[in-house]
């Protein structure tokens, strides 16, 4: 018998893995992927609370997850485009070397 607790623990573990990646990686693309992982953990929470909630017929959790996935897709497209533009400018995706806002 699965409990809500196990899903919440799994999603907090996923969130922490994404946070660790976003804080420790040097490659800007992998930092963006870490942020995507954190969004995924939030979606897992939405679905788990919807499934264990009192009114699953209202579909609120499913709708939240669908819209959240759409926003994450838009965010990934814009984020990768920004990384490409920054790479074209500074010839690196290493975040420790990208320390100047001025061109």
């Amino acid at each position: 018998m699965n409990s809500l607790q196990s899903y919440l623990l799994l999603s907090s573990l996923l969130f922490s893995i994404g946070l660790a990646g976003a804080l420790t990686r040097r490659n800007a693309i992998l930092v963006l992927i870490g942020i995507e992982l954190m969004l995924n953990a939030a979606n897992l929470n939405f679905i788990a609370f919807w499934r264990f909630g009192p009114a699953p017929a209202a579909l609120t959790g499913v709708m939240f997850a669908i819209f959240s996935i759409s926003v994450a897709a838009a965010e990934a497209a814009v984020g990768l485009a920004i990384i490409l533009a920054a790479y074209r400018h500074s010839k690196t995706t290493d975040l420790d070397q990208m320390n100047s806002l001025k061109g």
Partner: protein, 166 residues
């Protein structure tokens, strides 16, 4: 906990941990697809079929491919391999571990384990479409506008502006 949930959780955590830990960026994205597919399987296990298939299409199909393309376009063959982790890796790991400790403490002490699984909801794609077109039609339209703006913005940002001058 059922066997299926344990297997899926192990696959998901292993895939995402490998995605955040490996040296080669392309290998990281390949491991990431395993993690995303594991999350999609957990959605399917939670009777959210539509969200699970959306997860496979959007994350495994689109976001991972986009990330692979970005990695290949920004790959610089440098003779000295740069270090994988930033100089603040120890502090970052400590912060992430502390966040997990706080979240896990909150979840364990919340009494969520007393919540029992309700009977399986009957959710058809038709119901989801009805909800999208009636109750959630305004968010749907705003989402369409956001996706259009993001797509145009991504093209404009990633465009090589030097070529126009030539």
């Amino acid at each position: 906990m059922t066997i299926a949930f344990i297997i899926l959780a192990v696959i998901t955590v292993a895939g995402t941990a490998a995605a955040m830990g490996m040296r080669n960026a392309v290998h990281c994205v390949l491991a990431l697809t395993v993690g995303f597919a594991g999350v999609a399987a957990i959605y399917l296990q939670l009777d959210a079929q539509f969200v699970g298939l959306t997860q496979i299409m959007v994350y495994v199909g689109a976001v991972a491919i986009l990330a692979v393309f970005a990695i290949m376009m920004t790959h610089s063959p440098s003779p000295t391999k740069p270090p994988t982790y930033s100089s603040y890796w120890l502090m970052g790991s400590i912060v992430a571990a502390a966040v997990f400790a706080v979240l896990a403490w909150a979840v364990v002490s919340s009494g969520a384990h007393t919540q029992s699984l309700p009977s399986e909801p009957t959710v058809s794609v038709q119901q989801i479409g009805d909800a999208l077109m009636h109750r959630f039609v305004l968010p749907l339209e705003i989402m369409g506008l956001l996706l259009t703006a993001a797509l145009i913005g991504a093209v404009v940002i990633a465009m090589d502006h030097n070529e126009e001058i030539k």
